[in-house]
Amino acid sequence: MKYILMMNCPRNAYETFGSMSKSDIQAHLHFMMNLNRSLKESGELVSAEGLADPRQALVVRAGKDGTPVTDGVFPEAKEFLAGYWFVDVESPERAYQIAARASAAPGPGGSPMNMPIEVRQVMSGPPQDLL
């Protein structure tokens, strides 16, 4: 079964991250690389991506003639998607386990950041014969 694990962060997280010490940043990156490598080795990784700074993000809607109308990101939004893992696992429990591991990525001073990870099942299951 496939799951998407979405790592959300507060809007100032990219700035906070950028102001961490060099060794803290390296420890964090190292942790993430290890996580991705181990998911690849376990045959569970479908894909994983980190997203660019939300300050560059735009909100797009279709204009009258279907052309894009852009706007800045919602100023009221407290959280942004920072990155995601798309995994193919044996059980929901395994997806939660991976999410918990990702959530514990080290932050300032090497202590776990405990970021909230939203775990959602991807609709890829086989349909069963219906009545």
Binding site: L45, M123, P126, P127, D129, L131
Partner: protein, 415 residues
């Protein structure tokens, strides 16, 4: 590029030969994991060379020879690594061992290894499709919509698990053989089920997993003709797959059994499934796959939905329920009860399932309840249940179907 008939024939031949070649190479070199890699390389070499140079006169021998050469290279490398003095290769590694087992047994043993209970089901599925099915890692990866590197890792880990489990390459006997055969059938059943996802993703690139499951189950049935459940599973697959074309509409939407155009059902496949089942049931060793096949046969042989022999289906579910304590069987039996004794009788049985708890948060329970409530004329409640079921399913076509059912009922109430 379009596949020419010869390409297709060559591909079939390769996939048929794959387990025979692997069996021979494992027998000669003993190392399952390395042999499996060597055979995969030989298959790829054949797929690239044969279309240009023509199929060799003895394709099986050709493949064994190429795979063996790879194995000898592998063994040389390993020996050199372990022993820098470059001593000559031990003779026993190249000498073919004369086994009592036949080539047919080899293929069955391969099935047993790939579906070993030490493996997770996803690993067992992947390894079976590669080692016995003769598919490439890329083909399997595309069928399951995961990257090739991920699938390669899954297969390599599966082989490590087999190595770690220390299971020898040999035929288990007695009850263990039956037990291991059950695991094989379960893995084939899962592959068949997975085939239903073909409505998702670019269809042309996706392998027909159901067809592959049928091909492999046919093989198991041929190799273990006395096993009634292998026959039962093959019949079940044929009788279910016979409705494939009628099962989805032009936009991939699901069509329930009662509304399918029965003229689209594959009569040849139905006859074959019924014939296998009729030859098997009298043997007296009835199991769950045979009973499910028998239920599928009753549906398939009914010319119109209204003429379905529900009392017979109910009798078969009674047997099935006695055989296995399975909540899904209880759920399906409730439908049969509703069709024989009325929707209220079916709904009463669902209460037992609520108390049972094993289907808690399973969409199927809500979906069946919705259907029975609708039959009982409880439209409002049925709408709520269809919607609840839609919120729980992990299948997109199924969710769309359930939401459409709810919408249809809403409109019929307000209109």
């Amino acid at each position: 590029m379009n596949a020419t008939p010869t390409d297709v024939q060559a591909e079939h031949l390769l996939r048929e030969l794959a387990p025979q070649v692997l069996g021979a190479v494992v027998r000669r070199f003993r190392d399952f994991s390395a042999a499996e890699d060597a055979v995969q390389e030989a298959l790829i070499a054949a797929a690239t060379e044969w279309p240009y140079q023509g199929t060799p006169e003895h394709p099986r021998a050709w493949l064994i020879q190429v795979a063996s050469r790879r194995m000898i290279d592998h063994v040389r490398r390993e020996t050199a690594r372990r022993n820098r003095e470059a001593e000559s290769m031990p003779a026993e590694l190249v000498a073919p061992t004369a086994g009592i087992e036949t080539e047919q047994d080899d293929t069955l043993i391969l099935f047993f290894m790939c579906c070993h209970e030490a493996l997770t089901s996803s690993s067992a599925i992947a390894l079976t499709l590669r080692a016995v099915g003769g598919l490439t890692t890329g083909e399997i990866a595309r069928a399951f919509l995961v990257p090739e590197a991920t699938m390669a890792q899954r297969i390599s880990r599966a082989k490590q698990s087999i190595k770690a489990s220390g299971v020898p390459f040999g035929m288990p006997c007695g009850t263990e053989r039956t037990q291991r055969l059950r695991s094989v059938l379960h893995v084939l059943y899962l592959i068949f089920n997975e085939g239903y996802t073909t409505s998702v993703g670019p269809q042309l690139q996706r392998l027909e997993l159901s067809q592959e499951a049928i091909r492999l189950t046919r093989e198991v049935h041929r190799l273990a003709p006395d096993d009634c459940e292998a026959a039962g599973l093959l019949a079940l697959m044929l009788l279910t797959d016979a409705r494939r074309v009628a099962r989805t509409g032009p936009n991939g939407e699901l069509i329930p059994l009662a509304e399918q155009d029965r003229s689209l059902w594959d009569q040849q496949q139905i006859s074959e499934g019924v014939a296998i089942l009729s030859a098997t049931l009298p043997k007296g060793s009835v199991g769950p796959y045979q009973l499910q096949a028998a239920i599928a046969a009753v549906h398939d042989e009914s010319p119109r939905a209204e003429e379905t022999d529900w009392p017979q289906i109910l009798a078969l579910y009674d047997l099935l329920q006695r055989m296995a304590d399975n909540p899904m069987v209880m759920l399906n039996r409730a439908i049969a009860v509703a069709m024989v004794r009325g929707p209220r009788a079916g709904l009463e049985l669902l209460q037992a399932l609520d108390r049972d708890g094993r289907l808690k948060d399973h969409h199927r329970l809500d979906a069946v309840r919705a259907h029975l409530l609708e039959l009982a004329g409880e439209k409002e409640q049925a709408i709520r249940r269809y919607q609840a079921a839609a919120g729980l399913t992990a299948s997109l076509p199924e969710r769309n179907y359930l939401l459409t059912q709810a919408a249809r009922l809403r409109e019929s109430t307000s209109g």
